[in-house]
Amino acid sequence: MKKNLLYFTALVTLLLSACSKKQDPTPNFQEDNLAPLSIEFDNIVGGRTLTFNNTAVPYTNAKGEPFTVSMIQYFISNVKVTTNEGKEYVVKQDSSYFLIKGSDKTTRFAKVKVPEGDYSKLTFILGVDSLRSTMPIDRRTGVLDPATGGSMDNGGMYWGWNSGYIFFRLEGNSNLISDDQKGDPTGKKQFKYHIGFFGGYDVPTLNNIRSVTIDLNNAGIAKVRKDRQSNIHLFVDLMQVFNGKNSFSIKENPNVMFGEFSSKIADNFPQLFTHDHTEN
């Protein structure tokens, strides 16, 4: 008897959920029928959550090098979503620049508005596109204001002498870093990866802008509706900076800013992002 009741309840629940699904058909794709969507950038390091300066139990990369993280900041821009039917929506440029700062949890969401719909693909740029990187000063507001963040030491993301933004900034320590010019002459055993370069104004130079595309089918498509807050929860695995397809040693490359090597690191960027789940 009890068992029957259980079956019954299960059946009803199933029916109900089926019903609720039916009541929520995919809305017609209309460019001006905008609803909120957020993309959450959850910074992790390998199998562990991100803790700053955890010197007691540091992280270890594929080369067996122990390291800790003291700063992680990056730009996310030019968000684009695609429906199952292949309909694309590009978020309006002026509302499509986000500075994700590991030290400030409130910055972990890129909040955008897209038409109501079911989205199975997400695309964005890690960095600031070349067009915006050459725009007049009036168009550089908010996170793109060169004054944002103050000095380099405080987390500034703008290079003055070589006009452009730092797309990705990771700093930390590893006790394997030498105290000479090849390492950190200040003796702090610090590594700094400041990856920028948008390709130059007229003569082509390094282009470290990387596009990231994520298939949402496996971990849950985003159902964007006006009365809800759909949130695409991504993991951003900082370990992949070192362990990605261009795996490298922190000891051998403790400082990468303006060199050719910056492109090798940028090539690892798409591997940082995985889709964990979607909250609809």
Binding site: P136, I137, T141, G160, W161
Partner: protein, 348 residues
């Protein structure tokens, strides 16, 4: 009797002074004409339409240019290393001398005809005048400050809030307004009243002397390819065969990482040479003669040496002593006394 005359004289003098004063005032009101392209200059590169020069904006820019608040400890202003009497360079310094007596690595370039510049700094990297001031403000050896702090310091001064309002319609001191005000001042630093300019514009019967004219012909033949008229620079980056400096400054390469850009530096204008010594990106040549000596005898064959300096296996430029004298006479017609004495551009 005498006293009576004296009284008359006094009254007359009073009138004279009165007249003079009103004239000066009138002149001041009338002289602000905004940005005007000199008749013998091409159209500017700077987007004037995006930042129309107004009296309020220009004066705000000038105040900022001469304000040491732009530096970390409020000691160094833009005008510290860009001195008007030296055509806005730092005379007598091979490399610029900034905050806490720190020395930079390059010679302070002139603030002159910047509206016609497509790239900034000796080694490039900056291609928009509105973004240029960030470099000296944030450079360790120059002002060693950050933009956020500068804006905060300015916001604390009520007079600035008023001036920003007058110039841009709002008291809010933003990065954009700050940069645009500085640009308004800088693009107004136009040097276009040298003897050369007046001859070219056929003003008031001014003409070149025979020596100057011969020098002009020689100039067009031997120098004018890179130091293009009327700005006397083509705005390009070139390797002019200088031996690498002790710090091995790689020039444009530092900004582009393109191998072909190694040891290339921006071609400087030859205007106002009288006031802008020493010469070259690191101020290594103290006199014009030393510069001639370089081009005639000391050009080094390095990677990317400009082909114009290595024609048919002849390194450098051949210039006889006689030609040197004539060229010097012509180059001296590029000095613009009105520019370095223009009170509008001076600290008020």
């Amino acid at each position: 009797m005498k006293w009576r005359y004296f009284k008359y004289l006094l009254v007359i003098l009073c009138f004279v002074f009165a007249c003079k004063k009103s004239e000066v005032i009138q002149e001041k009101i009338e002289t602000f004409l905004g940005f005007q392209t000199p008749k013998n200059f091409p159209e500017p590169i700077y987007r004037i339409a995006n930042n129309t020069v107004t009296k309020a904006g220009f004066e705000l820019g000038r105040k900022l240019f001469y304000d040491p608040r732009l530096s970390r400890n409020n000691t160094i202003s833009c005008g510290s290393c860009h001195i008007q009497s030296s055509a806005f360079t730092q005379h007598g310094h091979d490399v610029s001398h900034g905050i806490d007596d720190r020395l930079g690595t390059r010679n302070s370039p002139p603030i002159m005809n910047l509206a016609w510049n497509k790239a900034f700094m000796w080694g490039g990297g900056v291609y928009d005048l509105d973004l240029q001031p960030i470099v000296p403000i944030t450079t360790h050896e120059e002002m060693d400050e950050n933009l956020e702090n500068v804006l905060n310091k300015l916001k604390a001064v009520p007079a600035y809030r008023e001036k920003f309002k007058a110039a841009f319609g709002t008291e809010e001191i933003t990065t954009a307004a700050f940069m645009k005000a500085l640009s308004q001042f800088m693009i107004m630093c136009i040097s276009s009243n040298s003897k050369y300019d007046k001859v070219m514009r056929k003003e008031g019967n001014i003409s070149f002397s025979t020596t100057e004219l011969e020098g002009y012909q020689l100039f067009k033949d031997k120098c004018g390819n890179c130091h293009t008229e009327p700005l006397f620079t083509d705005g390009e980056f070139r390797n002019n065969g200088l031996a690498p400096s002790p710090i091995n400054d790689l020039g444009l390469y530092t900004a582009t990482l393109v191998n072909g850009d190694k040891y290339k530096f921006k071609v400087p204008s030859l205007r106002n040479l009288k006031y802008t010594a020493p010469y070259m990106h690191d101020g290594r040549f103290l006199t014009l003669d030393a510069v001639f000596q370089h081009y005639t005898n000391e050009v080094q064959v390095l990677v990317n040496l400009d082909p114009l300096l290595n024609k048919n296996g002849n390194r450098g430029i051949s210039i006889s002593n006689d030609e040197k004298t004539k060229l010097t006479a012509f180059l001296n017609t590029l000095n613009d006394e009105e520019f370095i004495n223009n009170k509008l551009l001076a600290e008020q």
